[in-house]
């Protein structure tokens, strides 16, 4: 499903998320894309939480609407990598795992995140970088060259 997201900024993020909560939406996920050396795009995905009965009713009234968006809403937020982003956990506490994972893998700092694993949600204490960022392909080791013996 191709989709359109509503673009938000850090100061307006919580306002839009609050609208989602008031509309009864369920939090689905955060997806992250690296845009360049220093910037990221975070996308917050929500579900309209429509039941089978409601879906049947809306399909009878306007079939095409639901087939296109499949009941999802999306917010897109572009941020510099070092900037902090307001946490949505005061509104959606269940987003804590997704935000902690984003912190682990992309280094984004969320203000007001609770509970906060401080970058060690998936990674061990001594690990400082995620495999997602530092994934390298180890070249096969070359066979040692035989020395010519005199």
């Amino acid at each position: 499903m191709l989709f359109d997201a509503t673009h938000v900024t850090p100061p307006t993020l919580l306002e839009h998320v609050r609208d989602m909560a008031e509309a009864g939406c369920r939090f689905v996920a955060i997806s992250q894309t690296v845009l360049g050396e220093d910037s990221l795009r975070l996308q917050y995905h929500f579900d309209e939480h429509r039941t089978m009965t409601e879906l049947r009713r809306s399909d009878r009234m306007c079939h095409l609407t639901h087939a296109r968006d499949r009941g999802m809403r999306h917010l897109a937020l572009e941020v510099p990598r070092d900037a902090s982003v307001p946490s949505i956990t005061p509104i959606y506490p269940c987003a804590a795992l997704a935000e902690n994972e984003t912190r682990d893998q992309f280094g984004v700092r969320f203000e007001g995140l609770s509970p906060d694993w401080d970058g060690h949600f998936l990674l061990e204490g001594e690990t400082v970088r995620s495999p997602l960022f530092t994934m390298t392909i180890v070249p096969p080791r070359k066979a040692p060259e035989k020395e010519d013996r005199p």
Partner: protein, 359 residues
């Protein structure tokens, strides 16, 4: 005031087939707080988009989870097909339903066995796993593999099922249904099972929505929501109804999964009976560009894929949100207030799949 004791649950525990650690704060016999720790099987599979082309990546996403590999691959293929502007042929759509439902049946049977084992009902565990062999035999006969089926490709499926095989599958489904109905009274009405599961780990209806729960956990709390109702693959053409319960406890989650297994058997029969004649796959030409999301219903709940392509054969980003990841906040809400002895039953009741969760 009673003394608070810290009790580690997992990552190695008899009821957990996979590593999940929960630090439990316990007062007398009652759990007061639960803090999870993940990361024991984190493999960084999402990072492989940088080195595998978008067609080869099907084999990677299938290995995110063994138990529902076919649904991972189907969800990924659908998302890529949306980006390429193609659609799998009708026969492929029905075959995807058949294999997805077979995965759902064997996943639920595996869970029913493990759940019975969590409260010490070992003979039920053996019986459910014996019944599961029927499904694994069907998977092996139709795809060559028992667990990781490798039938989905971008644009369709790789294998077909002929009429002779369909008759044999129907016989297997009949045998499975008979065996399962024989276990219905034992699993859903037995006094001992009721004692261990009824009223335990209750998730209220509104709390289920707030905590982002999905799948049987959400439906057992009274929500009539199942991603299959949106009609992806061939589900829109089949007689599908979500299974729900209202109690929101471990017993309700067991009931939902048991009933879903029976419904999945019916869906397999219906899909096989209505297999349309068409080719199995359309050529996937072009390179994925833009963004796409797709959701499918795994045995554990809603699976979410986000893909971003940049017009090359390598995708720029693959993001997977698995159902267990969504159900962990709900689990953490269920644990405080229950007895320590009920923790394994409640943890098992969300059907945790940790290798899925961590990818």
């Amino acid at each position: 005031m009673n003394r608070i004791t810290s009790v580690p649950f997992g990552p190695q525990h008899p009821v957990l087939p996979e590593p999940l650690h929960i630090a439990l704060a316990v007062e007398d016999e009652t759990v007061t707080e639960a803090t999870p720790q993940l990361g024991f099987v984190h493999r960084g599979l999402e990072g492989l988009v940088r080195v595998r082309d978008y067609k080869g990546l099907v084999h990677v996403v299938e290995r995110i989870c063994g138990i529902c590999s076919c649904i991972h691959a189907g969800c990924y293929c659908n998302a890529v097909e949306d980006m390429l502007g193609i659609s799998a042929p009708p026969r492929a759509q029905f075959l995807r339903v058949v294999w997805s439902e077979l995965h759902r049946i064997h996943s639920h049977l595996l869970w029913l066995g493990l759940f019975a084992d969590a409260f010490g009902f070992e003979s039920a565990f053996h019986e459910f796993w014996r019944l599961r062999e029927h499904v694994l035999d069907v998977c092996e006969a139709t795809t060559g593999n028992r667990i990781i089926l490798s039938v989905n490709v971008v644009g369709g499926v790789r294998r077909d099922i002929n009429q002779e095989r369909i008759r044999w599958i129907r016989a297997q489904m009949d045998e499975l249904e008979t065996g399962l109905l024989g276990m219905e009274k034992v699993m859903l009405e037995d006094y001992t099972v009721q004692e261990r599961t009824r009223g335990v780990g209750v998730l209220e209806k509104e709390e289920a929505r707030r905590s982002g729960a999905v799948g049987p956990v959400l439906r057992a709390s009274g929500w009539e929501i199942d991603e299959r109702m949106n009609g992806y693959a061939a589900y829109g053409e089949l007689d599908f109804e979500p299974v729900t319960a209202t109690e929101g406890d471990c017993n309700a989650r067991c009931k939902v999964r048991f009933e879903e297994t029976l419904r999945s058997i019916d869906l397999v029969r219906e899909a096989l009976g209505r297999l349309p004649d068409s080719e199995l796959a359309v050529p996937a030409t072009g390179l994925p560009d833009g963004e796409s999301v797709f959701r499918a219903e795994q045995p554990r709940g809603e699976l979410f894929y986000y893909l971003r392509g940049n017009g090359t054969k390598m995708l720029e980003r693959l993001r997977v949100r698995t159902p267990t990841f969504a159900n962990i906040p709900a689990l953490l809400g269920m644990l405080p207030g229950i007895r320590l002895a009920d923790v394994p039953v409640v943890v098992l009741s969300i059907d945790p799949c940790i290798s899925c969760t961590e990818r």
